[in-house]
Subunit: 256 residues, 2 copies
């Protein structure tokens, strides 16, 4: 079931927050840190209100707030249930560094679309500098917020920036690389033949604004990563990744 943001009234639109696993002790939950302010002041929740917290175990906990202080919020667990937001395919989105606003769009939409792991990389034609630690923190916050909003049960992982070559070599999992010069094989043909079921993992490589060098594509091919075309229209790099993710989710029956 899909929900749009800020849905009024519906119970299911309860606020959701990832919390550290040790915040949950049997049926009592103690929330500290920045979240206290969000619950008490930003959202103006009150004792008796229900929220959902997630401890990254795949389960979600529906809570009834019992006390809201300035330093801590306490709540009791009303129900523990399996989260439903995880797709039946484990996607690693390997995204080249692109302009910051585009990269953030890819993170936010990628989380909504079910990406499990983001692997930023640099390649020959990458322009942006490696991100600072401050920017990395910002990216983690974007991922967390998108995961809470889209009802994910597990917080997607953001890996450190790697070189493209190192990332190709890293795992033997099957993958695709979106390539503007690929003529013969389209994404649908390749998706239908990918051995999804063996591992459940698929890697999707998306290049920088300037595209990949053909030597980079050769390297990818050697590591079980197949170049695919995305059709006749030119897609911007940030669009191409999101369309590929949509295609995978559609192919896997994950769009309902």
């Amino acid at each position: 079931m899909t929900l749009f943001r800020n849905l009024p009234i519906m119970n299911i639109a309860m606020h959701r927050f990832f919390v550290p696993r040790d915040a949950i002790a049997f049926d009592e939950v103690t929330i500290t840190g920045e979240l206290v302010h969000r619950i008490g002041h930003v959202l103006r929740l009150r004792p008796g209100n229900h929220i959902v917290v997630l401890d990254n175990s795949g389960y979600e906990y529906e809570l009834e707030l019992t006390a809201i202080g300035t330093l801590r919020v306490t709540a009791k667990v009303v129900e523990r249930r399996p989260g439903k937001g995880e797709p039946n395919v484990n996607i690693q989105l390997c995204q080249a560094l692109i302009k910051a606003d585009k990269f953030e769009l890819v993170l936010q939409k990628g989380v909504e679309l079910g990406v499990r792991e983001f692997c930023p990389f640099t390649s020959e034609r990458c322009v942006p500098e490696r991100p600072s630690e401050v920017r990395f923190e910002r990216w983690r916050a974007i991922i967390r917020e998108a995961a809470e909003q889209s009802r994910r049960a597990v917080l997607p992982i953001l890996r450190p920036v790697q070189e493209f070559a190192a990332l190709c070599v890293q795992s033997g999992e099957p993958g695709i690389v979106l390539w503007e010069e690929e003529r013969s094989r389209g994404i649908s043909q390749v998706l239908k033949s990918l051995p999804f079921k063996d591992t459940g993992i698929v890697r999707v490589f998306v290049g920088p604004e300037g595209g990949f060098m053909s030597s980079e594509i050769d390297l990818a091919r050697q590591h079980n990563i197949e170049p695919v075309s995305m059709g006749r229209r030119i897609l911007r790099t940030e669009t191409a990744g999101l369309v590929a993710l949509s295609a995978i989710m559609y192919e896997r029956g994950e769009l309902g």
Copy 2:
């Protein structure tokens, strides 16, 4: 074939511009207006360089620039050929007014994904004001730029804002409406059963941030517009439309 933006070297990344139909007279083209500055100063093109112009006929014209002045650019037609950027399905994206930056994202990505016609509408839970004429001009510019960049052969149309009810009633073409409360039918099931081939037109309705009222869904249903679910994850309104467009293009074999 997909091309990413700013591809260096490749001939196919030639600059593309929509021009008024009367700019093209037999094998001579005369460009006036704002485009003269872009060609001569922004892009610093020179006589002998090739560009592509489109007159919205579905054809594209490869030109060799012959003279670049301050008020006009002249060129001769090297080749006239059918444009390849139009999909085999005619999508009307009926998008509720949403926050301006989200709406602009939908326009830009919608063009890349092959939307033929944008129909903005207001509905019960719409928050934004109707756009001013200035904003409408900005939206047209976004559409034109995205169409040039993504190699569309025809400029997508932006309709005036209508009421949701009026838009539902307007045509008998089949359609879908993305609805967060739909439980039984997912987009893939409905897409596979849509009578695409009869008309080639499909209407896609996407609601505002607050979603549709169930009375609005009832009205849609009466007009051949089927509510569909988009899966278990919550998609923001601007994401939902783009994912639905991707699914349609995938289903139609338009992603290669």
